[in-house]
């Protein structure tokens, strides 16, 4: 039972750490399948987390915080959309700019409003998302193997985690089974085909960018209202980039995105769990190396272990009617 306990502990923190990655990677999936590359996932998440922390504290409501996160993140997406779709600017530059603007301005605003040194005030229980215990979790705990898995792994997360995992099949369905999804995928592959079919390329891409904003906002709210009790400066800590890596690793497909995020989440969980415990054969590993592990693996995986990841053909290219 010791091993089961160990497994459950690791698995549960894997799920927790994967949640924001899944939301952010799915956000990236929507814009990038529509042909707008978005390196600004990080900034949108951070902006969302900050807005959630502020509003949840003032309104003492997690839902208000979530809403604020989504609004701010969508607004940031629209800035990216305006720069890269309407003005046909460079999508990477626009995304990087958003990351920097958010990283700086949140600190300034946070300090000006709350004066707590790069954080929003700690949130009380009522202003955060609460852990949800699924029905019969305690009653079923007695069943060998399946009981504890149900009670400790499947039950006992916040609502946003369930939303993140439900978004995976939902995204798949939207992308492959709806008119919106068909057009979205088409606009990322050959906008000319979409244009000549009588559909507005610009409007399609804006809608994709808005979807991205919504999901990034939820990811941000998860960070400050569920995983933590408030916003702290730079709390995304590269998760937006890891989500991008997961997206490429998954070749821009929703279900593989989930598995890629779970893998990165697991590496993170593993690093945290074992950062001071000696490992068999290797002995004690420096903390820094453990913390770097997910990133090292990202490089290795992306460098050669996934085969050829072909991005959407029109990705990164502003649409101009050819002449």
């Amino acid at each position: 039972m010791d091993y089961l306990q160990l497994f459950l502990e690791l698995a549960q923190s894997t799920v927790r750490l994967s949640t924001p990655l899944i939301l952010a990677a799915l956000a990236g999936l929507f814009t990038e399948r529509a042909g707008v590359f978005d390196i600004g996932l990080e900034g949108k998440m951070l902006g969302g987390a900050f807005a959630a922390g502020c509003v949840a504290f003032v309104a003492q409501s997690a839902m208000a915080g979530l809403l604020a996160a989504v609004v701010v993140s969508v607004l940031l997406s629209l800035v990216h959309g305006y720069a890269s779709i309407t003005q046909r600017g460079n999508q990477i530059v626009s995304g990087v700019a958003i990351n920097f603007i958010v990283a700086g301005s949140t600190v300034i605003l946070g300090e000006a409003w709350f004066r707590q040194g790069g954080r929003t005030p700690a949130l009380s229980e009522g202003a955060r998302f609460q852990v949800i215990d699924l029905p019969f979790a305690e009653e079923l705990r007695g069943i060998p193997l399946l009981g504890p898995i149900y009670a400790d792994l499947i039950s006992g997360h916040q609502a946003l985690t369930y939303i993140a995992f439900l978004m995976v099949p939902a995204s798949w369905w939207i992308l492959y089974r709806t008119r919106f999804g068909l057009r979205l995928r088409a606009v990322g592959e050959n906008p000319g085909a979409v244009d000549t079919a009588g559909i507005s390329v610009i409007w399609m891409r804006y809608r994709a960018v808005i979807c991205c904003g919504i999901l990034c906002g939820i990811a941000g709210a998860y960070l400050s209202l569920a995983a933590n009790a408030g916003w702290t400066k730079g709390m995304t800590a590269g998760k937006g980039y890891i989500a991008l890596a997961a997206l490429i690793f998954a070749k821009w497909r929703p279900v593989p995105v989930m598995f890629a995020c779970l893998l990165f989440g697991f590496l993170d969980a593993f690093a945290i769990r074992y950062q001071s415990t000696p490992l068999p054969l290797i002995g004690k590993v420096p903390v820094q190396l453990m913390q770097a592990l997910p990133y090292i693996l990202t490089v290795i995986l992306l460098a050669g272990f996934i085969g050829k990841a072909i991005p959407p053909k029109a990705g990164g290219v502003p649409y101009v009617k050819e002449r």
Binding site: R179, L182, E189, N190, A193, A197, G198, K321
Partner: protein, 511 residues
């Protein structure tokens, strides 16, 4: 059947300084196949893109079935019953046939409902027009001919009554093209109106009821196909221009400088563009290659100059082989005495954002005389550039000006100066005077003849028949990738026109 499906009145369109369509009028009768013919760049595709709402005309009116319609986007055109098969297919390559056909016409926001209907409708269209293609095949795995069929199906699925086909046979094999024509006949029999854009006279004669000719953005004539001839159309297409006579003495051809044997070149889609071409080019002569644009002249030049890899064949430069099927290197060929003035100076010949002097050494930048240790010897480069500016009367005479700021004629002189002043043995020139003003044309022609008189071998490609006739000592005519005839420069325009139209070519003889 005198009802009009389409009527265009005074359509006018400019892109910046390029006047693509000048006051175009066109009437297309219902239930006919109407050809629009003209050379590349005559404005055919622009006109059709306006009709399909892809571009907006600056002026003019469009009537569909007698009603004036303001076609602002493709959606309006589709609703009005117009469908278009683009020259470069507008298909999503990793989608299935079914998904491509449905895109934009899905019926409801959930796909499933539409899918079964689309399947049934595709099956019906397949039967009715013999357009069979597997609806679940992925586009990128289909041959080009079938991809085109999907484009036609897309238009029919949207209930198009008027079908525009833009250069549909450019990417097809002859067998596929014949199949396409049978489909078009079938569509016509069902009452559809078809507009066929092409620069191939053979197709016009084979299938159209009426034909309109465009030249340099203008609609120059409309004829009933049965009452016109290839000769007349060829003349209308190319047009009679002011004859530019150049003083030119007898040629004194010397030894063979460039020999081309059985050269075959395919384009990126695998279509044969140069088909088993052989000829010799002697010192002290100008050989002109005539032909309607798009018959393989460009690819021939590119293969000889090492830009495009040939499939088979041999090319010798001054007796030594050029590895045209392998690793022919344009830079190396330059050192071996083959200078190349590319057809498209903007994309291949110049970097428009560079200074004049930088462009003046493009491709010759490795020359030790422009080097000072590890860095470029800017003074030497500018000195040479300024000498060329003097000699070629390039205006404004400023070697430090950005190349984009020179006029077309002066840009062309920059390229010519660069290539001619290196004293090459063989000079390959594509479209020497395209977009060049009259004054510069005379100068350029004189320089080309001077090169010949100095004993250089000159290979000249131009779509301007007058230019070919004025400069060449021998004329080779290319049609459909083959050299279909050789003529003296005093051959009649009609004779050359027929050759250019492929009428006396081997393909026509077989039919």
């Amino acid at each position: 059947m005198d009802e009009l499906a389409i009527e265009l009145k005074g359509i006018d369109k400019s892109f910046g300084l390029v006047h693509a369509n000048k006051d175009i009028n066109l009437k297309v009768r219902k239930g006919t196949i109407h050809g629009i013919i003209g050379e590349n760049g005559a404005g055919k595709s622009t006109l059709m893109s306006i009709l399909y709402g892809f571009y907006q005309a600056d002026r003019g009116e469009i009537l569909v079935d007698g009603r004036a319609i303001d076609i602002r986007d493709p959606n309006t055109a589709i609703t009005a019953g117009i469908g278009m098969v683009h020259q470069h297919f507008m298909l999503v390559e990793n989608f299935t046939v079914l998904e491509n056909v449905m895109l934009g016409a899905e019926e409801s926001w959930i796909l499933n409902a539409g899918i079964s209907r689309a399947r049934a409708e595709l099956k019906r269209l397949e039967k009715e027009y013999a357009l069979d293609v597997n609806p679940d095949a992925v586009i990128e795995e289909l041959p080009v001919g079938l991809q085109q069929r999907v484009e036609i199906l897309k238009a029919l699925y949207r209930r198009a009554d008027i079908l525009i086909l833009d250069e549909p046979t450019g990417v097809l094999t002859p067998a596929e093209a014949d199949h396409l024509f049978r489909i078009l006949e079938q569509l016509k029999a069902q009452g559809k109106t078809i507009i066929l854009i092409t620069h191939k006279l053979r197709e016009i004669m084979a299938i159209t009821d009426e034909v309109s000719v465009m030249r340099r953005g203008e609609m120059v004539a409309t004829r009933e196909t049965a009452k016109t001839s290839v000769e007349e159309l060829a003349e209308l297409m190319v047009g009679r221009r002011v004859l530019l006579r150049v003083e030119k003495g007898e040629a004194h051809p010397g030894e063979v400088k460039l020999s081309v044997k059985n050269l075959t070149v395919r384009d990126s889609r695998g279509v044969t563009m140069v088909d088993d071409v052989s000829f010799d080019l002697h010192a002290g002569e100008i050989v002109g290659i005539a032909g309607v644009a798009g018959n393989g002249q460009s690819e021939l030049l590119e293969a000889i100059s090492g830009i495009r890899r040939a499939v088979s064949g041999k090319v010798h430069l001054g007796g030594e082989a050029i590895d045209v099927t392998g690793h022919a290197d344009p830079a190396e060929l330059r050192w071996r005495g083959l200078a190349h003035v590319p057809e498209d100076r903007h994309h291949v010949g110049l970097v428009l954002k560079f200074e004049e002097s930088e462009n003046a050494i493009l491709g010759y930048h490795d020359d030790p005389k422009y080097r000072k240790g590890f860095v470029l010897d800017i003074d030497a480069i500018r000195a040479d550039a300024e000498a060329n500016i003097q000699k070629y009367d390039i205006r404004p005479p400023n070697a430090r000006l950005k190349t984009a700021n020179f006029s077309g004629g002066n840009q062309q002189k920059i390229v010519l100066a660069r290539e001619m002043e290196r004293d090459p043995d063989v000079l390959i020139i594509g479209q020497p005077t395209r977009g060049v003003d009259v004054g510069a044309i005379e100068f350029i022609h004189k320089r080309i003849i001077e090169m010949r008189d100095q004993g250089k071998a000159v290979l000249l490609v131009s779509v301007e028949l007058d230019e070919i006739r004025a400069l060449s000592d021998r004329i080779l005519v290319m049609f459909a990738g083959r050299v279909v005839g050789e003529r003296k420069p005093d051959a009649s325009e009609g004779d050359l026109g027929l050759l250019m139209a492929g009428v006396e070519g081997p393909k026509e003889a077989a039919e």
